[in-house]
C-alpha cells in the first residue's frame, strides 16, 4: 500500500520554513485576533453558515495561492505521494474526522497551541505524534 522514497535531512530549509509559518501564525493573531489552525479554518468554511466565513476564505485563498506563485516565480517543489489511492481516501477521512474531534491539527495544536503553552495542545501533539509514528512502523515493518 505504500512506496518509500528516501529524503535527505535539510535542517536549514526546515528552520526557514518554520520561521515563515511561525510569523504567519503570530501575524494572524496580531492583525485579526484569530488562531491559525488550518483544520478549523477549512472545517469552518464547509460546516457553518456565512458567519466568520470571509476571513477563512481569504486565508485559504492565500494558502492555495502559495504553490501557484511558487511554481510561477521560483520553480517546482516535490510532492511525492507514497500511498495507494484507496488508502489516501481512508487517511483523508481519518485526518478530517480526527482533527475536528480533537479540535486541532499540526498547526493549531502543534505550533499555536504549544506556543501558547496550552496543556490540551501538548497532550494532543504527543498523542498524534505517537499514533503517527506507530502507524508508519506498522505499515513499513510489520
Amino acid at each position: 500500500m505504500m512506496n518509500w522514497t528516501v529524503t535527505t535531512f535539510d535542517p536549514w530549509a526546515g528552520l526557514a520554513g518554520g520561521v515563515f509559518i511561525g510569523t504567519a501564525v503570530v501575524l494572524l493573531l496580531f492583525s485579526i485576533g484569530k488562531i491559525a489552525g488550518i483544520s478549523g479554518i477549512v472545517a469552518g468554511i464547509f460546516n457553518q453558515k456565512s458567519i466568520e466565513l470571509h476571513w477563512r476564505l481569504a486565508f485559504l485563498a492565500g494558502l492555495i495561492l502559495s504553490p501557484i506563485l511558487y511554481r510561477a516565480f521560483i520553480g517546482e517543489f516535490a510532492v511525492i505521494v507514497q500511498t495507494e489511492t484507496l488508502w489516501m481516501v481512508i487517511a483523508g477521512l481519518l485526518v478530517g474526522f480526527g482533527t475536528r474531534l480533537g479540535s486541532g491539527c499540526t498547526s493549531g495544536h502543534g505550533v499555536a497551541g504549544l506556543a501558547r503553552l496550552s496543556p490540551r495542545s501538548l497532550v494532543a501533539t504527543l498523542i498524534f505524534m505517537v499514533t503517527a509514528v506507530a502507524t508508519v512502523s506498522v505499515i513499513r515493518y510489520l
Binding site: T7, P11, G14, L15, A16, G17, G18, V19, F20, I21, G22, V26, L27, L29, F30, G33, K34, I38, S39, F46, N47, W55, F59, A61, G62, L65, S66, P67, Y70, F77, A78, V79, V81, Q82, T85, M88, I90, A91, L93, L94, V95, G96, G98, T99, L101, G102, C105, T106, S107, G110, L114, A115, R116, R120, V123, T131, T135, S137, R140, Y141
Partner: protein, 144 residues
C-alpha cells in the same frame, strides 16, 4: 477589507513556509515519522522554527489589548483534557501516518491538482463534515 488582506497574506506566508520546508511532500513527512536508521528529522526543525517565532510573538501579544483590525483576541476557551481530544488526536495521527499529509499541506498539495491529492482533500473535508454532523447534531438535539 484590511481583515481579508491580512488573512490572505498570512495564508500565503503559511503556505510558502510549508513549501520551502518540504512539508508539502508526503515522502518527507513519512520519513520523519519513521524513526529508523533513515529518519529525516526536518519536520522537527520546522516545528522548532515556528515555535521559536510564535512563543515570543504570543508573549508580546499578551501585552496588547486588542488586535490591529478587530475588537478582541479569540483564543480557545476549552481547558479540560477529555476523551474527544485524546481519541481525535489519535485518529488524526493514524491518518497522518498513512498518507503523510495533515490539513495545511493537504490544501497546498491539492492545489497541484494531482488526482490522489484532490481525493485526499475531498475525503478530509468529508471527515470534517461527518464529525460536525455527528457530534453537533447530537448536541443540538440534547440541548432541546
Amino acid at each position: 477589507m484590511k481583515t481579508l488582506l491580512a488573512a490572505l497574506f498570512c495564508g500565503f506566508l503559511f503556505g510558502f513556509g510549508l513549501i520551502i520546508s518540504g512539508m508539502t511532500n508526503p515522502a518527507r513527512v513519512l520519513n520523519f515519522l519513521d524513526w529508523s536508521a533513515r529518519w529525516d528529522p526536518t519536520l522537527a526543525f520546522v516545528m522548532g522554527g515556528a515555535i521559536a517565532v510564535a512563543l515570543p510573538g504570543f508573549h508580546w501579544l499578551r501585552k496588547r489589548e486588542k488586535p490591529l483590525y478587530s475588537s478582541h483576541f479569540e483564543l480557545p476557551a476549552k481547558r479540560k483534557i477529555d476523551a474527544k481530544l485524546v481519541f481525535g488526536a489519535g485518529l488524526f495521527g493514524i491518518g497522518w501516518g498513512i498518507a503523510g499529509l495533515c490539513p495545511g499541506p493537504a490544501v497546498v498539495a491539492a492545489a497541484t491538482l494531482d488526482s490522489d491529492l484532490l481525493l485526499f482533500f475531498a475525503a478530509m473535508v468529508s471527515g470534517m463534515v461527518a464529525q460536525h454532523w455527528f457530534f453537533n447534531q447530537k448536541l443540538n438535539k440534547n440541548a432541546r
